[in-house]
Every structure is written in structure tokens, then in C-alpha cells.
Symmetry: C2
Subunit: 410 residues, 2 copies
């Protein structure tokens, strides 16, 4: 082991310790109605950007925007054109501080309780590995991605485009696990996952527990994953085991998953019951409001990213487009803020319907100012809209206008 990796190893070991619980902070976690209130940074940003928190110290700092210890965004300019988002550039959104890094010491020994099947019991990762294997490329996107474009400034992290990435997961299909345990019990309508984060004492567990329910139909594609992008899942991204639900918003992909249950009712945890709801502006969230579940159709330009002046001449405009499942059928790009549109071409391999597609178009650009926008249309006919849907917590922003980027050409 080199000095450098020894150093990082020490940092990672620190990450989940009691010290990290203190430094990462629980402030903001009990914010109004499940909104993603940013926790205070570990250190005041005296000069320059906030540092990466210890458990994510291995990330590429130059590619990230650190909002807080638990909310770290990828810069628009850091998305390349290689389809995959490398782990060191993938965003982090933790609803609670991660567990102690010691949970990674023996990954195969991690236990998950399987309930709502005929023969419920606790299984280890080692046993899961004997039940099946599947690999899926998928867009992971925080429900609040694009919140930073809401003029109403909802509470929560003001993500721009970078609380999203496209990664490859490997693990066992949830449906195989259910089969191995006798099949799903009758009368179950939800797939409910529970996170293994340590809860602070003296608080109602349901007020903080990370537990989400999705429609049981999601089990067709869901996997219990132990690998991301070819490596064991890091603590920052939910290792040793994560419930991955392709096509669903990030919060439904439970990190450090300790319980997978087929349930008759939805989770009573606050994060599900009133959290992540499409609440009218100014209102309190209610369980009767639409829950944030499947991703909607969306695209954004990644290059040029507006971070520097572009040289006049031919400019390749690149970006990504995705949906909650239907393939992307068409991408259009505008350089005049949406007055006129041109069709862009797909670039690179198609990693399947849950992955994003990269696109590119060559534009001749004279010196001047431009507003670059993209809009995607999927195979179901769903079209990325011009306007966001206003809501109290700034969820599900897929407005092409909000995500447009101003570019100076000289």
C-alpha cells in the first residue's frame, strides 16, 4: 500500500466513526416535510470552496461542488462524453451520515432481512451471491436535481444539473431473492427498502429512518447491488449493499440496505409518508400528494458548460438525455434559448433504457452570446417541457428552459 492510499484509507476509516457523526452533523435532517435542508459544512468556507468530507475525500475535488458534508454535486463541465460517470465524479446525497466504515471490513458478511415472502429470513451478501447475477446501467438522479433553478428558492440543496450520473450496478435481481425464499406473500403491493444508517438516540426513529416504498412492479428491474462501475460499492454510494431501483429517483435506491420487505402498505417513515411529495408552493406536505417515484424525461447540455469563453467557429454541443424507462427517441438543441431547434445525433453505445444517451451536434458559432438548450422526447412520446412544475420543495425539475446554459463566444 502506498503512502497515498494509506492516507486515504485512514481518512475513509475515520469517515463513519463517531467523529464523523459529529462533524457531518444531523442539523437539517429534521427539516420541514422531508425537504433536503443542507447540513452545515464541516468547516466554514473561509476562502475557496468547501472541502470534501472525509468519507468522500477520494473524489476528484476539481469536478465537484461541495454544498455540505452530505450533499456534493458534479460540475456541469465535468460530465464528459463517455456515457459513464466515474465514481470519483459522481454526486453524493446522504439523508443521514453514512454508517461506520467498518461495515466494509467484511462485505460478504453484511446482513439484509427479507420480509413479505413465504419464508422470511435474514441473508448475507455471500448468500445473495449464490442467488443470481445481473448488471444494469442506470441514471441515478436526486429528486431535487435542478432545485437551484426555482426562483422561489425552496429550502434544500440548490442543485443545478449535477445531482445526477450514469453508473453501472451489479448484484442479484430482487425477484430471484424473493423466489429463493418461497415467493412474495399474497396481498403485497409495495417493495419497501430500509437503510442501515445509525439513528441518533432520543429521536422518533420514523422521523429519520431512511425507508422508501415503490410499487411492487419495480421488482422486475430492481437489484440488490454490491458493485458499482466495476468496483465494490464505496461507503459514499451505499456499500456494502444497495437496493437499486432502475428508473426511480435516487432516494428510492436505499444505501446500506438492511431490510427489503414486500409490504401491503407504504412505509410510515417520514421520508416516505410526507417526504418527497409534490406539494403546492407554500403548503405543508401530505401523504395524499404524489410521491416522487419514477424519473421524468430530461436532458441537459454538458458542453460548452458556460464556465469559459468559447472560440468562434465550429462548436460541438454535447449533453445527456434520459427518462424513467422508455428509450430516448430524439434530442433537439437550440442555441437561441428555444426559438429554433435542430436535431442532435446520439454518440456512443446505448447502455439500455435506464441509462442516459449522450448526444452531440456541430454548430457554427460566430462571436456573440448564446443560450444553449436541449430537449428530449422519449419512446412513449413524453417530451421534456419548457416549464418546471412549481412545488414547495423544488422536486423533479425537467424544464429545458431552466437547464439552458449561457455561453459567450469570441
Amino acid at each position: 500500500m502506498t503512502e497515498a492510499t494509506q492516507f486515504l484509507r485512514r481518512r475513509q476509516l475515520l469517515a463513519g466513526s463517531a467523529g464523523a457523526l459529529a462533524t457531518a452533523g444531523l442539523a437539517g435532517l429534521a427539516g420541514p416535510a422531508g425537504a433536503q435542508t443542507p447540513a452545515p459544512a464541516t468547516a466554514p468556507a473561509a476562502t475557496g470552496p468547501r472541502p470534501l468530507p472525509p468519507y468522500a475525500a477520494w473524489k476528484d475535488a476539481s469536478a465537484m461542488i461541495v454544498h455540505s458534508s452530505n450533499t456534493i454535486e458534479t460540475r456541469r463541465a465535468a460530465f464528459g462524453t463517455s456515457v459513464i460517470t466515474p465514481a470519483e465524479q459522481l454526486y453524493v446525497r446522504n439523508n443521514l451520515p453514512p454508517p461506520d466504515a467498518s461495515v466494509l471490513a467484511d462485505r460478504d458478511a453484511w446482513q439484509v432481512a427479507i420480509e413479505g415472502v413465504r419464508n422470511p429470513r435474514t441473508v448475507t451478501v455471500a448468500e445473495l451471491k449464490t442467488m443470481g447475477i445481473e448488471t444494469v446501467a442506470m441514471v441515478l438522479q436526486c429528486s431535487g436535481n435542478g432545485r437551484g433553478y426555482f426562483p422561489s428558492k425552496p429550502s434544500g440543496t440548490p442543485w443545478q444539473v449535477g445531482a445526477a450520473g450514469c453508473v453501472i450496478w451489479s448484484g442479484v435481481p430482487v425477484r430471484y431473492v424473493a423466489e429463493a425464499l418461497g415467493g412474495v406473500s399474497p396481498g403485497m403491493f409495495y417493495l419497501t427498502g430500509t437503510g442501515g444508517e445509525k439513528l441518533p438516540a432520543g429521536v422518533d426513529p420514523l422521523s429519520l429512518l431512511v425507508e422508501r416504498s415503490v410499487n411492487i412492479a419495480a421488482m422486475t428491474d430492481a437489484i440488490l447491488a454490491w458493485e458499482m462501475n466495476g468496483a465494490p460499492i464505496s461507503l459514499a454510494h451505499g456499500g456494502p449493499l444497495r437496493l437499486v431501483v432502475p428508473g426511480y429517483n435516487g432516494v428510492n435506491n436505499i444505501k446500506y440496505v438492511k431490510r427489503v420487505a414486500f409490504t401491503a402498505a407504504e412505509s410510515p417513515a417520514k421520508i416516505h409518508n410526507t417526504g418527497y411529495r409534490m406539494t403546492p408552493p407554500g403548503a405543508q406536505s401530505k401523504p395524499s400528494e404524489p410521491s416522487i417515484q419514477e424519473l421524468n424525461v430530461k436532458s441537459f447540455v454538458t458542453g460548452p458548460a458556460g464556465d469559459r469563453t468559447v472560440r468562434a467557429g465550429t462548436v460541438y454541443v454535447t449533453g445527456v438525455a434520459f427518462s424513467g424507462g422508455p428509450a430516448i427517441r430524439r434530442i433537439e438543441v437550440s442555441s437561441d434559448g428555444g426559438k429554433t431547434w435542430l436535431e442532435a445525433a446520439f454518440v456512443g453505445p446505448d447502455l439500455g433504457r435506464f441509462a442516459w444517451r449522450q448526444f452531440a451536434i456541430a454548430l457554427r458559432m460566430a462571436p456573440g452570446s448564446y443560450v444553449l438548450a436541449s430537449r428530449a422526447i422519449d419512446a412513449s412520446g413524453a417530451t421534456q417541457p419548457e416549464q418546471r412544475i412549481e412545488n414547495a420543495h423544488g422536486y423533479s425539475n425537467n424544464s429545458w428552459l431552466d437547464h439552458a446554459v449561457k455561453v459567450a463566444v469570441a
Copy 2:
């Protein structure tokens, strides 16, 4: 920037300096007939494994076998089932120490001479980015991968399975660059790439220059790449610019490429003229012998990897299969050293004909000893052979028998 990344940054900056040239060492680079003689390690392996060299200090040490400063292999057990090999686990094989890391300071300013076109000139990466964009997933494999299984112990690094990986490159198609410069001149039969490594003084440049020629037909798929797996290419893997020739052995993918020429004749550099040739055992290499170019059909088991005892019961045997271009049609797995075979299933997305496919098969394994082997058949009908082709330098080993792995089940 965190302390950890500052630390790594310092290490990376050191990597290409005069100090690194000294520590990385040039011994072995003028070895016989282009054979990959391992350079001495930077530090004696007093106890435990050799450390990663400074320019690759950011790699995951636990996933790698460090043969020398310029030859670093991925452990069989580190290959996951996510198709892509992450940068921090990808093998390194440098024919010369990398250039100074300062070449990464302004990536867009890197220059490459384009010759053998109607309007030859030098272009910058910034200009290349205005000529086109393509993304390709590809197996990168050193010609000497599997040399460690030759009983004749040819000189050169004794790679086992891990001088190979599957990565995604982004850049401009070489054919677009040629078109932008007036098209390929008449009478050119080769695509010749030249590396930008610094050559030591007092030596015949042709004896060390990294320059290779491939058939001009390869320009259909070749790209000048500035990105790997979604991030700018690291120094260890040829950044800021690499000539990527999908379907061809690693040595043809020129790092730090400073010249791309369409040529009437093949390169006179030793590494091409007599290096990387299929030479009969015991003979001296000659230019008339077959040059190591396209990859051959190959597969190997990655799990179980033989590094630990496996628990009796159902065992998922996983691995990878690839060829130089034709799609993989079928994979078979044997647990008895090749006496009987079963067909395995493909796992995960198909990233295109230059990528590898992951495969898996569930076997019921009672306690005992097993020899796990895999063999691939591609769409052209080419079948991975039982036996290697004996040759002086241990190239192109695709023997399924050699790559079989012994596994203890208890």
C-alpha cells in the same frame, strides 16, 4: 482541495519529472527484440508487495499486482461484473516512462502533427474538438497478457489475466481529422502513430521511440481520444491525447500521441520493425514475421478467482469474453478442466463489438477441487483454442487451458 487530493496531486506532479525518469528506470527498455522486459522496481520489495509508482499512486493498490514501475496488472479477483474496468483498477504497461505531468496542465494546448494528408499540419486538442466526437467501449489488452502461463518463461512481464480491461474512450474519429485536412494522400497503406515520451540522450531514437503502424483500414474505427471512462485521460493511460485503435492490441494505442501519419511504409522504429512479432521459440525477431495487431478471440473466468476457498452449493461462475471485432456469439464454461462444457449466459449491457461481454453460469458444486475454464466463440466462427501458439516472446496467449483457474470448494 482536500489534504488527500493535494497529497495525490503532488505525487502526480512528481510522476513525470526528472526524478521520475530516474526512479522509473530505463533498464530493460532496450531488451531483446521488443520483448517486454520488466524494469526494476522503484524500491526493493523488502517485505510485502511492491508499491505503486508515483504516476499511478492514485490506483487501488489492493486490486493491482505491481511487476515494475511500468508494468502493473489487475488481479483476477478484482474484475467485477459491471463490464467497465474503472481507471483505478486498469492495468498499466508503459514502453517508456511517461512524459512530465506538466503536459496535463493545459490539455487543449497539446499538439499533434497530422501527416500523409493533402494539407498536413499540426493541430491542437482544442482544434480536434471542433472536428467531431465519437465514443467507443473497447478492450485494451497488452500483447503479452497471459505470458506468465508459458512454461518456456519468455523474457518480459509474466502477466496472467490482468493486462486487460474494458474502458470507454471519447475523442474525434481519425477519419474526420483526415477529411478536415484534405483527405489521405494517395498511396498510403498504414496509419502510423508516434508517442510523445521523452527519449534519453545518446541513444538511437529508433531503438526506443514508441511508434507503431496498423493497416490503414483501422482508421474506420480509430479515434484520437482525450477522455477515458468519463474523465480526462490520466498520465498513466496516455493523456492528454491517445491514439485509440479499437480491436488492436494495446501497444498500437499510442499514448501522448504527438504524430499521426498516413504512411506508404511501416514504421522503422524497433518496437514495430522487429518488436511485437510472432517469433519462433529461441529465434531472433525479424520484420518478416507476423506483427502483433488485431486481438484474437479470448475469455477467462474472473470469479471465483482461486484466491480463496469457495463455499459448497450454488456458485456463480463469472468472466469476460472478447475478440478483435466480431461479436461474441457463445461462451462455454467447464468445471472439470475441459472434459465437459456448459453454455453460460451473457450478463449486462452489450457495449458494442470492441467491448467485452460479461458472462455467468450457476453451478452446483460439492466440496472438492475444480478447474474452471471458459472458451469463447465469436460471430466469425473463431473459437478460443485449447493451446497457446508457442512463440519467443510470449505474445497473444488465448489458450483456454492456460487461463483455467483452480478452485477449492469446501
